[in-house]
Symmetry: C2
Subunit: 235 residues, 2 copies
């Protein structure tokens, strides 16, 4: 069995920061699977043209190529059905999809609005022109303008985490007493911020911190010990 | 077996519009249970002092009194475990909780910002002073100021439904191929708006409409045929 995962890399090529790649990293670990990781910069994404599209993560397993993190998670669940389930019952799968979409449509752009200048600072020089142009087009303003007031806008961001916070106040994980894919689908975005920015998304007292810490420490602290970019605004 | 559900009533006392009560109405129907409904105005909530708190819904079943819609749903699931499950596996329950919190912390205040003047117009005269005072305090502005630009702000609202919309584009219900409590926990808020306001929350083309229609038609069109308040701005 050979598993290869194509990922996005920061300026420091060891830094994996794409939230979607992190979802799959956690999913692989959950299933006790190892993969060869292939880090790519934005300007190297031609490499994955064989997948029929241009976005990481891409998983290659023997003769199979799978793109899109949700599809990859489902592929892993089916293919390695003897290992720990990522979804459980079919209704759990359906609900995990909602959590996953919340993470991708609400959480992701909100985090981007706080750390996009740090991403810019921490991606490879050769990626900067593309990154600035595409992100400024998406947001309709300069990168610097996006994050200019983040010490204020972070409060709105923290409010927007209410569904996550409230859920974690009554159970240790989104998936209940043990983490599963729904947790990873959110956690991936926190890893994105952690590994590309020194900006702290959460209040120290936020109950989300404990959940995040637990996942940072999971699988022998795989996530906590992962290489990070230089921290902007810290030493 | 006697089930009694204390609910919130509009000016037209037949109009049940509280989203939390609607969650339980749907849950009862899902389990093929019937209850005596007791409609209360805000100023009659003393009636449920026996429950040890002041919010509807309150369910009374034989010698048991249960308040809080989430607690009531769980009570029904346990007590009537032979009927159709509201949650399924334990991980499904855990994830349903997230959906429920999303509905309550994000969807609910957003809908309120669009229909609060219609609520005011459609609640009983005796409730208006309390309603205006408490809601204006919560929002920090007059009711009229809250909804003044709703033809514009509704576009932001529709964007905020992305997690729901995206999920429903790939499966008929949040819970998968059949509706369950996660669906009702969101649908309740749509019933709230429907029954107290003529303001249309969704674009006709929105894929959420189909899901809403299906639930309106479920259980012999129980929700669709429920009494509504006079429609503000329509005939």
């Amino acid at each position: 069995m050979t598993l290869t995962l194509y990922e996005l890399a920061a300026k420091n090529i060891q830094v994996s920061f794409s939230p979607y790649c992190w979802k799959i990293r956690m999913a692989l670990a959950h299933k006790n699977l190892t993969a060869d990781f292939v880090p790519l910069r934005f300007n190297e994404l031609d490499t994955i043209n064989f997948s029929g599209q241009s976005k990481v993560p891409v998983l290659v397993h023997n003769e199979n190529t799978v793109s899109d993190s949700w599809a990859i998670a489902n592929y892993l669940e089916h293919t390695f059905s003897d290992s720990a389930p990522l979804f459980g019952a079919s209704s759990t799968l359906a609900l995990s999809k909602f959590v996953n979409h919340w993470a991708d449509t609400i959480l992701a752009p909100a985090i981007a609005g706080l750390v996009v200048t740090d991403i810019y600072a921490n991606i490879a020089q050769c990626d900067r022109e593309y990154f600035r142009e595409s992100r400024e087009k998406r947001f309709g303003k300069t990168l610097e303008a996006i994050t200019q007031h983040r010490d204020v806008t972070v409060h709105e961001f923290r409010k927007s985490l209410a569904p996550l916070r409230t859920t974690l106040q009554s159970q240790p994980f989104l998936s209940g007493n043990a983490p599963a894919y729904a947790d990873y689908s959110v956690f991936g975005h926190f890893m994105w911020a952690r590994n590309i920015s020194g900006f702290e998304l959460l209040d120290k007292d936020d109950s989300i911190c404990q959940w995040r810490d637990t996942l940072l420490d999971a699988f022998e602290a795989m996530a906590r010990n992962a290489p990070r970019s230089p921290i902007i605004g810290e030493s």
